[in-house]
């Protein structure tokens, strides 16, 4: 039995009804939100990743194309855009798009610090901020736990000084979950970013329950394993029961699985196509699969 819109919203702890009502009332098509546990701020459950897709260098045509992606993303109610200094020109391309779009108010800027020398973290963060053209980042994460102790000191100090709103760490490909767990237990993180999708479910064992227990928001990266999952199932027909959760494509099927996990705050698929960004955001609408349907989805994926 899929969860309907009312049931999904009913499960959103921490966000006041008053805060949610304008979003619901604005448009029937607005994406569902989940609260960031540490603040209650409502976050649309589908965001936008930028790995590879936004690394287009100085190419003016590609930069304008990515601006269109961002425009469609904001038009359809998206907020969180995620990047990193590891992503080549992606930060600068995001900054270019934000400027052309007049710095859309809904933006939730999520970036990372990724440098082995902790002392160089502040300079890298400042360079990233200049690329984005934002006054301050909403979220900064220690990328792949590189020099995480030094960088967390920097990030918590920035948050304390009001120069940053949220602090997080990231991992991917299921790596270093033991270390991630330790950091989650020992530090007051706002966010953790990890790989979670229907084929990579290791986080379900410890990290996702711990995030719920500790009140840490979770960003799910590699939702399609860099298109690998889409390619794997293309040509296969969606099961008839996918209609029950209104999944019209494999991308929506895969995304709805991720964002229906109650610990997930936001999934960040990346794309180079406007129709795909709209399709992704359309996944963030009720109905979402319930626990029984999720089991069915896993079983079906294993059988294909």
């Amino acid at each position: 039995m899929p969860l309907n819109r009312r049931e999904v919203l009913g499960s959103l702890a921490g966000a006041s009804a008053a805060a949610l009502m304008p979003r619901l009332g604005r448009a029937q098509s607005a994406p569902l939100t989940r609260p960031i546990p540490s603040s209650g701020e409502a976050m649309p459950i589908v965001g936008l990743g930028s790995w590879i897709t936004f690394n287009v260098g100085d190419d003016p045509v590609a930069r304008n194309d990515r601006t269109e992606i961002m425009k469609a993303f904001f038009d359809d109610g998206g907020r969180l855009i995620d990047s990193s200094p590891m992503y080549g020109s992606a930060q600068a391309v995001i900054g270019y798009g934000l400027e052309k779009l007049g710095h859309p108010k809904p933006l939730f800027s999520a970036d990372k610090v990724w440098i082995s020398d902790g002392d160089e973290g502040p300079d890298q963060i400042e360079a990233s901020r200049a690329h984005w053209g934002v006054d301050r980042f909403d979220l900064l994460q220690v990328h792949n736990l590189v020099a995480w102790e030094e960088h967390l000191d920097t990030l918590f100090a920035m948050k304390q000084a009001g120069k940053l709103r949220y602090v997080g760490i990231t991992t991917s490909h299921g790596r270093r979950h033991d270390e991630v767990e330790t950091i989650m237990r020992q530090h007051d993180l706002d966010f953790v970013q990890l790989t979670y999708n229907v084929a990579d479910r290791a986080a379900e064992d410890r990290l996702l329950p711990l995030a719920q227990e500790k009140g840490i928001a979770v960003i799910a990266n590699r939702p399609f394993r860099r298109k690998e999952l889409i390619y794997r199932f293309e040509g296969e027909k969606l099961p008839a029961w996918a209609d029950e959760i209104e999944a019209r494509s494999w991308a929506q099927f895969l995304l709805k699985f991720i964002i229906s996990h109650p610990a997930i705050t936001c999934a960040i698929p990346a794309t180079t196509r406007v129709d795909h960004v709209r399709e992704n955001l359309a996944s963030a609408r009720a109905p979402l699969p319930d626990a029984k349907m999720r089991e069915r989805m896993v079983a079906y994926i294993k059988s294909v």
């Binding site: 897709t53 287009v56 790596r175």
Partner: protein, 224 residues
């Protein structure tokens, strides 16, 4: 990057094939009409390989040094670096090869070119001609735009392939000039392979061919 050995090559690729190939189109547009100069330099080298003069080796080394230096600066440092964090390393490697060609090839005269006396030298000349005239059309023939054609002296792959041809055409294989071109063959092969490009095996095959033929000629000479 921590635990880098656990990443697949595909995980390390940080740009899309579209972005990679469009880079050459932008590169060509920005550099025009440098392509004519590069083609002229290539034809001059080809002429010297076919009709060697006493100073042909030094002149060819000088022209190749210029080509490697230009690719290091204009392509790797100015262009590729916008999408690949590793590009500065490649720029330094190409600059180092340029210096080697300048000092070892042109200065010390260790790139000796004379009329071919061994079939492997003829293969070297043919390889140079291939890199100058045929390799550039592989891209367009495999579905990429003509504007993104990769040319000797402008783009790395044909520059490296042409250099391999010259090294094989030399009287004696100048081994010191071989490692960097061979390393690039591996790097570009891996990059194209992770992008699923059909031309991915070309440069590794050319590099392997020149290495094997160079060794064969050296052993044959040692035995005779």
């Amino acid at each position: 990057m921590s635990e880098w050995w656990t990443y697949a090559p595909r995980d390390l690729l940080m740009f899309s094939p579209d972005t990679y190939y469009r880079l050459f189109a932008l590169h060509n547009a920005d550099l025009w009409p440098m392509q004519i100069l590069a083609l002229g330099a290539g034809l001059a080298i080809f002429g010297l390989l076919l009709r060697p003069t006493p100073w042909a080796g030094r002149a060819i080394a000088l022209l190749l040094a210029a080509a490697w230096a230009f690719v290091a600066w204009a392509y790797f440092s100015d262009r590729y670096a916008t999408i690949n964090l590793a590009a500065p390393i490649f720029a330094w490697a190409f600059a180092a090869q340029s210096l080697l060609l300048l000092v070892y090839g042109a200065g010390l005269g260790r790139l000796r070119i004379a009329s071919p006396r061994h079939v492997t030298q003829l293969i070297g000349i043919a390889l140079f001609a291939f890199a100058l005239l045929l390799q550039p059309v592989i891209g367009p023939l495999t579905g990429h735009v003509w504007a993104g054609v990769e040319l000797f002296g402008i783009a790395p792959d044909p520059t490296v392939a042409a250099t391999l041809g010259v090294l094989l055409a030399a009287v004696r294989m100048p081994w010191l000039l071989l490692p960097i071109p061979l390393l690039w063959c591996a790097v570009t092969g891996a990059t194209l392979w992770t992008m699923g490009s059909p031309e991915a095996p070309l440069m590794p095959v050319l590099g392997g061919l020149v290495l094997v033929l160079g060794l064969y000629r050296s052993f044959a000479r040692a035995e005779s």
